[in-house]
């Protein structure tokens, strides 16, 4: 299975979806940045064309004019569709060009990935540890696949920044626009993840081919199928998971800082939060002035603050601990003081997570696989090769009828093998087409007498046998697979 053929398509869809998404969010800020729906087709078309062209045809020797003409072929129709208005043309043209360029980058990278085999060559494949180079994740950032990760994450981050900006400015999308945004977001996420998984498969295939590894032919198919399942599950998780539950938001932190600062400079009063402002933590009243209160509410609030500070501190320490842990490769004995505390906090968090996972794992009862042999038998008996036979085929009579039956049954999957005797074939025929019927026995006994005895069949006997054979022939002709009657 050629994975490369679908990767430019994924890259094109992802690029178009991201650019479309960005354009839609941008349009929320200004009506000038509005894009018509038909531009989606241009974005997708230009991205696909650019990615495929770069992946398959573009070389360093391709004239620059060709690339310009290629881009112009997409921009020209847009100019006509916007009514030849340069101001209206500028934004759609800009988006299309960006989309075209982003997809071009992906296509070029795919082309480059394929040339790894050429660059390494046979000698390289035998001297360079291909497992280390291709299969381990160490140094992933420096490897060719890092391009796709950077591209996907950067694009996603850009869209997220736009979406967050819109969210914080209370610019709300609703109705059809919301649906469009969700569809485009889902498409971008799905195609982006599929692109990452597919590119990884493509890169491994290239290196495996170079190292002449014996890759299971079913691997790409199974890979893509499992990848699709994982992408679907991931998206479902992302859509179903709760959001906006954090007690510490940018606003809260801002207010806390403001409160601390106001205390330090003795500000008379904190600015009140807007009544409609989210999150709800800030809407619980004006808590800060109550800090000095000795009432129950004040104590609770103080405890909450302390808890919050402890939580934030623990998170920060754990994050710092993680970074230090990675930097020191787990050798925490070399650390002292706060860094050591940070790593210990990280280790405690990690242990806790692992214990939770282990507990979850124990809850699942894993049943052994039944009825599946690890080492199945080595195949079945193969039909023997036909060998020469000097007998000329009979044209009529019982023998000819047997040949007709064998031919018809052969079409239905019951081949008359050369190493089978007629009687054995008759038994097989009975098993498949005529369970519990004597007609087969009657015919084949008659056949045996006709074929092997000195006297042969008398006229009446032959008629009876022929009648039985004709009945068999008709039954075999009419047989439609799973039919088994008594």
């Amino acid at each position: 299975m050629n994975v490369k053929s679908i990767l430019p398509a994924l890259a094109g869809v992802f690029t178009a979806a991201i650019v479309f998404l960005a354009a839609r969010y941008a349009s929320l800020f200004s009506t000038v940045l509005f894009v018509p729906n038909w531009l989606w087709a241009f974005l997708l078309g230009s991205a696909l064309e650019s990615a495929y062209f770069a992946a398959y045809f573009l070389t360093p020797r391709t004239p620059f004019t060709v690339r310009l003409v290629e881009l112009a072929l997409w921009l020209g129709p847009i100019y006509l569709l916007v009514g030849r208005s340069p101001s209206a043309f500028l934004w759609p043209a800009c988006l299309t060009a960006v989309c075209w360029l982003l997809a071009r980058g992906c296509g070029l990278e795919l082309s480059r990935l394929e040339k790894v085999a050429d660059l390494i060559g046979d000698q390289g494949a035998s001297t360079v540890s291909w497992e280390y180079e291709s299969l381990t994740s160490m140094g992933q950032d420096e490897l060719a696949l890092g391009f796709f990760w950077r591209r996907v994450i950067a694009c996603a981050a850009a869209v997220v920044v736009l979406a967050v900006a819109a969210h914080r400015r209370e610019v709300k999308a609703a109705g059809a626009l919301l649906l469009e945004l969700r569809l485009a977001g889902g498409t971008a996420a799905a195609s982006g993840l599929a692109l990452l998984g597919g590119a990884y498969l493509f890169r491994l295939q290239t290196l495996w081919a170079c190292a002449k590894a014996a890759v299971d032919p079913a691997l790409p198919r199974e890979w893509l199928r499992n990848l699709a399942i994982i992408v679907a599950l991931s998206l479902a998780l992302v859509y179903l998971a709760p959001i906006d539950y954090s007690p510490v938001t940018a606003d809260t932190v801002g207010r806390l800082l403001a409160a601390v600062l106001s205390r330090g400079v003795e500000l008379p009063e904190l600015p009140k939060a807007a009544p409609e402002e989210r999150p709800s933590f800030s809407q619980s009243g004006d808590p800060l002035p109550e800090v000095d209160s000795v009432g129950l509410g004040g104590i609770i609030l103080t405890a909450m603050y302390l808890l919050l500070v402890a939580l934030v501190s623990a998170v920060l320490l754990a994050a710092l601990g993680f970074i230090l842990f990675e930097l020191t490769k787990g050798e925490i004995e070399r650390l002292r003081g706060l860094p050591r505390l940070a790593v210990q906090v990280y280790a405690a968090v990690r242990r806790a997570v692992l214990q939770v996972l282990a507990a979850l794992g124990r809850l699942k009862s894993i049943k052994p696989i039944k009825g599946q042999a690890i080492f199945p038998g080595q195949g079945e008996e193969r039909p023997s090769e036909p060998s020469a036979d000097r007998d000329s085929p009979p044209k009529r009579g019982v023998r000819a009828l047997l040949l007709q039956i064998a031919r018809q049954a052969g079409k239905k999957g019951l081949v008359f093998r050369r190493s089978q005797t007629p009687w054995e074939y008759g038994q097989a025929l009975r098993g498949q087409f005529f369970p519990n019927e004597e007609v087969v026995g009657e015919f084949f006994q008659g056949y045996q007498r006709a074929r092997y005895s000195r006297s042969g069949l008398s006229g009446a006997e032959e008629e009876r046998v022929l009648a039985a054979g004709t009945q068999i022939l008709n039954r075999v002709r009419e047989w439609k697979g799973d039919e088994k009657d008594g």
């Binding site: 036979d389 007998d391 085929p393 064998a406 008359f416 089978q420 009687w423 092997y452």
Partner: protein
């Protein structure tokens, strides 16, 4: 009654008679009848105690013939088999004392424990149907059948039969252990008195001789004969076989198929008859290569594989076109 029907009736009577003594051994008994009707001898490869002697005695009793048993040991002399001339001091002349070979059904137990020379004297009698003692030739009474046994497991202190002598055995049969049900039935059958003592003859040697002649007249269609030849030739070119079956092997296969057809009441041979007797007739005649022996390949497996490869030559289905 035609010849085939007479043979079939004989077979049924014999099998019934043998079945009253030996439980669950119909297939080996049929093969022994095939050998008897073909005038051949039988090699029984099996462990002790599975009924080899009883089978031989039952056959002898059923045909009303004489029976004798030779327990082969390394110090067994040829004269112990053929008989010897003893000097009668009173008469002042040599008197021939016949050996056990002079019976019609002879059981040579553990033949591979006898020395090669003793084996040769036995096999010579089997091949020629006569023995020569002190320059005088004694023709053995027909029907004459030797049932030799050998233990396939033990090797120590044995003199395995050379290939040329194995070839003289018409078929090689294994009785095998009975099933649990058969064994239980056997226990109750033998609870008081062994039924072999009450076994009555169902025919006589003269009748057996005439049936042997009848069997030789069973029709073998040309394609079946060619199938026999193809099978035997295939044993000679098989990659795991050092020495394939001899022409004596193809003749034995031909005759065994005739006998089996007659026992089935047919006066013509089917390829199925050839297939049924191919393993017992051919397997012991093959000399396998050393590496095949070490791989655990058996002659029976080679013949079985050939049966599923060699064309029967019944019809050419592809000639009908599609």
């Amino acid at each position: 009654m035609d010849n085939a029907a007479a043979v079939a009736e004989f077979g049924q009577k014999m099998l019934y008679n043998i079945g009253s003594v030996l439980i669950g051994k119909e297939k080996p008994a049929r093969l022994l009848l095939v050998a008897l009707l073909s005038g051949g001898h039988v090699l029984l490869e099996d462990v002790p105690g599975v009924g080899k002697t009883m089978l031989a005695r039952a056959i002898a009793a059923s045909i009303g013939g004489t029976f004798s048993r030779i327990q082969c040991t390394p110090d067994l002399l040829p004269a112990d088999i053929t008989g010897l001339s003893i000097y009668d001091q009173k008469a002042g002349d040599f008197v021939f004392r016949p050996g056990p070979i002079m019976s019609q059904i002879v059981l040579a137990d553990e033949i591979n424990r006898a020395t090669p020379r003793t084996q040769s004297s036995l096999l010579e009698a089997m091949g020629e149907g006569q023995v020569t003692v002190d320059g005088k030739t004694y023709v053995l009474e027909q029907p004459f059948m030797v049932l030799a046994t050998q233990n396939p497991v033990e090797f120590e202190g044995t003199f395995p039969l050379p290939e040329a002598q194995l070839d003289r055995f018409f078929i090689c049969v294994s009785l095998g252990y009975p099933t649990a049900a058969e064994e239980r039935e056997m226990l109750y059958l033998l609870q008081e008195r062994h039924p072999i003592h009450d076994l009555k003859a169902v025919t006589d040697p003269q009748r057996v001789r005439s049936l042997q002649q009848a069997v030789s007249r069973v029709h073998v269609e040309e394609s079946v004969g060619e199938y026999v030849v193809r099978l035997v030739q295939a044993t000679r070119s098989h990659p795991q076989v050092q020495l394939g079956a001899s022409p004596r092997g193809s003749l034995a296969l031909f005759r065994a198929a005739q006998a089996l057809a007659a026992l089935e009441g047919r006066d013509y041979v089917l390829p199925d008859d050839v297939k049924e007797v191919a393993v017992p007739v051919l397997a012991h005649r093959l000399m396998l290569k050393a590496d095949s022996v070490l791989r655990g390949v058996k002659g029976a497996a080679v013949v079985s594989a050939l049966l599923s490869q060699v064309a029967v030559g019944a019809e050419r289905v592809e000639d009908m076109g599609s």
